[in-house]
Subunit: 394 residues, 2 copies
Amino acid sequence: MIAEKMVGYVKNSSLIRAMFEEGKKMAAIYGAENVYDFSLGNPSVPAPKELEDAIREIISGEDSIFVHGYMNNSGYEDVRKTVADSINRRFGTKFDQGNIIMTVGAAGGLNVIFKTLLNPGDEVITFAPYFGEYRSYTTNYDGVLVEVSPNYETFQPNLKEFEEKITAKTKAVIVNTPNNPTGVVYSEETIKEMAAIMEKKQKEFGTDIYLVSDEPYRELVYSGVEVPYLTKYYANTIIGYSFSKTLSIPGERIGYLVIPYEVADSEMVISAANVANRILGYVNAPSLFQRVVAKCIDAKCDVEAYNRNRELLYNSLVEMGFECIKPEGAFYLFVKSPTEDEMIFCNEAKKHNILIVPGRSFGCPGYVRIAYCVAYKTIENSLPGFKKVAEALI
Amino acid sequence: MIAEKMVGYVKNSSLIRAMFEEGKKMAAIYGAENVYDFSLGNPSVPAPKELEDAIREIISGEDSIFVHGYMNNSGYEDVRKTVADSINRRFGTKFDQGNIIMTVGAAGGLNVIFKTLLNPGDEVITFAPYFGEYRSYTTNYDGVLVEVSPNYETFQPNLKEFEEKITAKTKAVIVNTPNNPTGVVYSEETIKEMAAIMEKKQKEFGTDIYLVSDEPYRELVYSGVEVPYLTKYYANTIIGYSFSKTLSIPGERIGYLVIPYEVADSEMVISAANVANRILGYVNAPSLFQRVVAKCIDAKCDVEAYNRNRELLYNSLVEMGFECIKPEGAFYLFVKSPTEDEMIFCNEAKKHNILIVPGRSFGCPGYVRIAYCVAYKTIENSLPGFKKVAEALI
């Protein structure tokens, strides 16, 4: 028999992933062009040309044993330096390679940092709506995920409730901005208030509270919006970054952690994260793609394509009568369900081969997430279906 | 402060990895050609030519969004079918893609399967000498690693003690053949006896005992030695494979699990392993390299190069008076220390810039591991140093 803990995980297994699988089945039945799968955050824009050039250059020009071999568990020194330099250049920080640990995507990085920090029973606070996997990443290490309820007006964090929920057991706070599923970017004002609350509570309880920032969508912002770099606002900040969305390579599993020297017990945290990266079985981030991202450190996929999708879908849905905050980043719309139970909305959409994810997967029932990282044509072709859903439910 | 569990992990952090880092520092001081680093199992033979051809073909010929995108958490269906077909062709088994989960190397696969199976306090039995990381992979899930002491004559498993150590809490047995650190291949006779003992104990306790076979060295065998395919001898067998050594790509983190339908509760185990692969933060095995290994499924690095190293080092050391079983596979010699405390041997070797790993890292003090996956010239140049060590200690 499998582990008892896993029984629960399997039962509550990711609805998003289940829909992704269902979408593939539906595509086989109805034809891919007749299924409008908005379920998964799988980039629809190809990787930038620089990426394929980089792969070719590396395998032609560098030694096979070096490119595909083991290196320090934290990653190649030169790659980590390139990453640190890039962050410093863009955000005015002062990191060096010792602050960077290359990881198996942001998901790998978050697991590494929670393994590093959490004792059983330690609390991790997150703000609803939030990426559902945070619950697993926390309970993997016997931590307890504490949800702060949504601020429905702006989907900025609910800071009053946040302050109330910090306890002596709060070990970490995890934020995700630009946010999955809302597309909201936390404002500088929000970040400053949040930092002040955490500083105050650290003093009150005599504890260290680490702010963990999950940043796969940092580069996916529209209309010139700035995303504050959190290490500049709060000393105990650790960044988990992924190149999945920036370079359209989510399958390659490549990202990094930034652990500043300003973090409490930084030397221990950095050493332990290096060890955690190894013993969790990652061993190291994939070697070729470490070298590839270093060569493409300033490259980006075609963010404008997502912007076009955003404009079309947002404007169309609002015109049909749906309610939604206009996202400033990421590639999701978080739409208020016309029915109190958003499953009715999801099921009605499915009648028209439209797959969308219920908000309860993000700790926010009554809403749905629509991932618009799809072909422009898919959005165009889905609109008559959305129109019928609107007619049925609004 | 970091997690209490991590304090211990950091303190007892891998001696092998520490030596690898020390070797790089020594190389910077003395020149790489004057340091004989036998510490790490990092392949010294380049990846086969097919591998680079496969990379070029895939990035030129296949859709970027497909190649670098998300797929089923267990891996691309066609890749898993190719893997299953290859195993069936070579070993006469009857697997299909449903039995295969692509993983982040064998280390990732072992973590997935222990996460899937272990309840806190469950016991995992291993045979000394063994790869030290098994301890972390077990304790990551609050399991207890139970060591069976070495059989110093043959380094085949000590089956009498094995039988005595199986209890009602034994959830898994992990074997590694060809073995790290001894290079010994467990014989068919050994496997049959081991299977009979486990069958008997399963009946006695009314439990399921899973045999987990860690197989990164399966393809690295010499003189035509056969490595039995364990699923054919014991129904409850799960294989963890890695392409790291076969294709000389340990940094790329690509391997797979085989979970046969004959395994107890196979449907649950397969579902849970799929979920564990996701929630542990691997999400999926690196996508490009899934497609690469499928294209190179029958390719191998130049095993003959390792065989030449084996012959030179084994014959030279034995001639100098060292005692050692001649390895039939992998790329390690496990040499008896001339001094009872093998640290004296290691330190004496280090005086001559020779880095070797004490046997205590493998649960077998009094021995040392010499990883001969190095350039032939490195072995040649190290021999005068070994000779001086022999003169000092034997």
